[in-house]
Amino acid sequence: MDLVYAIGGCGFLAWLIYLFITRARNRWHILSEYQRGIIYRYGKPFKDVGPGIHKLRIGRDYLVFIDVRPEGFNRDLTAVSTLDGRTAVYSVAGKIQVQDVRKAIYCARNYQQAALAKTISMVRRMLNDYESEDIRRHTQAVCDNITQAVQDSVGKIGMAVFDFRLNQLQIVEGPSGTTGNSGGASA
């Protein structure tokens, strides 16, 4: 009987020591259902992880995670020159959602900024290549073309744009000028 007690005591002590060591060497991280991440081992990507509890070895593993919930954006009444020198005014709104975690993490320091920059650039670039008359007469077709181009462009960096709306697209009457966000810079 004494032997059983001795073995049990030793086992308990060993378990306590094991707990102490694992607690000192590891930490656990919980990812929620709307988070995805990559575990880096010695600074290099080791595996992609989804929702759940993940054990990370201190000093060896590092977890980078991102939020995959859709995030809305909008930009109101922005001016852009058309091909024939008139000024078009537009508003954009939509939602961005991460589709490919690795691409999103590596595309830029801030993947949301990157997606927004791609969206704005594409809208401006395309509107700048249309003539005012095309925009006025075929507004819906122009919007559809721009929406498709924006989705393709943002898709390349592992994200998706949905519920994209190009609102209030109109040609400003009168001479064109540097109206609106003149000289603005954003980073």
Partner: protein
């Protein structure tokens, strides 16, 4: 008594040589400073350092999108013109980017705007007709400016060029 002394000695030694850890990911670089002087550039991995006299600064090498919208200037024909660009900057020389400027994104925007001011030597209509050539020219000029602070420019795109009056299509209502 001896045991207590040993424990005390261990605690003192641990506190004196206390080290910290820093993980550098594959899209980052680290610079190890010892006594305030740069010692080494660190690649991806886990590093120990002594906070008492060492420091590791982490630099992110990923792209940072930059958009300059409706930058107004007077072109070579003295006409009001404006241009919008989008580009991405990233760090290529971690040491230079850390030591040459405090906020390299703001510094980059300043450099980009300086180069855009140089467009005054060119007709806006030329920039519009030869957008690719203008993009190449701007990329070359901006790259040489940004290189001084350890940065590089990728994916420069002219997203808008104003159309001067001479380029406008005659016959459109409201176009002069």
């Amino acid at each position: 008594m001896i045991a207590m002394l040993v424990v005390l000695l261990v605690v003192v030694v641990r506190l004196t040589v206390k080290s910290d850890r820093q993980t550098i990911l594959d899209y980052q670089r680290g610079i190890r400073f010892n006594g305030g002087k740069p010692q080494a550039i660190l690649g991806p991995g886990c590093y120990r350092f002594r906070p008492a006299n060492e420091q590791i600064t982490v630099v992110d090498l990923r792209d940072q999108p930059v958009i300059v919208e409706r930058f107004a200037y007077r072109d070579s024909a003295s006409e009001n013109a404006w241009i919008s660009i989008s580009a991405a900057i990233h760090v290529v020389d971690a040491h230079r980017a850390t030591t040459q400027c405090h906020d390299h994104v703001n510094e980059a925007v300043v450099s980009i705007r300086d180069v855009l001011r140089g467009l005054s030597a060119r007709r806006a209509s030329e920039a519009r007709r030869d957008r690719r050539g203008c993009e190449q020219e701007l990329t070359t000029q901006m790259a040489s400016e940004l290189e001084k602070i350890g940065l590089a420019l990728t994916g420069l795109e002219i997203t808008e060029v104003s159309s001067p009056a001479t380029d406008r299509v005659v016959g459109f209502p409201g176009v002069h």
